[in-house]
Symmetry: C2
Subunit: 153 residues, 2 copies
DNA sequence: TTATTTAAGTTGATATAGTCAACCATATGA
DNA sequence: TCATATGGTTGACTATATCAACTTAAATAA
């Protein structure tokens, strides 16, 4: 009798979809309130660059687990918006180091606020332990999904 | 000193994105293994229709929390693929009832298998209680995000 | 040192998702 | 019966993702 299991897995899947949808739409509107017009992926990329001082397109793609083609495009737009700059990578002539500009740092600060509002709304009925637990479980599941097929990308 | 909080929220957000991305890509490949060529959203819609005997486009849109325009398109394609049919709704001349065809039911069964594989992979390091807890927390968060703005759509 | 292979990044083409506004037809209620 | 609301459709557009081909530089083998 596996239908119970199947059921709970369907629920898990649906709940996840709903959560991410609701999360993105809330965050998008928070970002808009800050008068910023930046898609979520761009935000995430920008954050990743700021957090990691010597990012390159490829290292970012790996950390975000996104296609490098997509990253190239996002970076191009971030650069056009003056949020990041690319510097030649002294260690590899094919690659560039990514840095947030001053403007980019400014924008990041505001984005983090928006993100925090959203996260606070989202977790307002949970205590810190629950949030912690949730994050851990999430990370576990990501690892489980990634492990089998040695990902390249 | 709120930077700790901000940090954990960023982590939560990133972890979530990664999970959904990994989940979708795993599920997509499981679906492909079944020789089915159906986007995830179509699958979810089909599932929703099968689960709920007297679905209409709008009720489905509400349950899935998706835009009705998007639902219309998904339904059109499911119908073109012969997976669902539309019957006039005796209670409202503007609306149609949605039913899976026999073929649709067949496909659903195989999709559920694919979904189950993915879920099993994803949760293999967790026990049932953890999964349960995770699903609950997810639902809580969805509720928190939905509550404030009385959603229409 | 040249030739071959690999890696970083870009580009093109295409698929999938989601959003918003305008719109048509039916329903509802004043 | 007129005005308004609702179910559903369509158009236009944005955002996200995937894959393959390609360019240039790097690494390695011959």
């Amino acid at each position: 009798m596996k239908s119970d299991t199947t059921m709970s897995e369907s629920q898990l899947s649906d709940a996840l979809h709903r959560l991410v949808h609701a999360y993105k739409s809330h965050l998008r509107s928070e970002v808009a309130k800050q008068n910023l017009n930046l898609p979520i992926t761009h935000f995430r990329a920008l954050k990743g660059i700021a957090r990691n001082p010597s990012s390159t397109a490829l290292s970012l793609a790996r950390r975000m687990q996104r296609d490098k083609a997509q990253i190239t495009r996002v970076l191009k737009e971030l650069q056009e918006d003056g949020l990041i700059e690319k510097r030649p990578n002294p260690e590899d002539g094919r690659s560039q180091l990514l840095l947030p500009t001053r403007k980019g740092q400014n924008v990041i600060a505001r984005l983090l606020e928006a993100e925090q509002h959203t996260a606070q709304t989202m977790t307002r009925s949970l205590n810190a332990r629950d949030v912690q637990r949730f994050t851990e479980l999430t990370a576990h599941m990501v690892a489980n999904l990634d492990e089998p097929t040695d990902r390249e990308n």
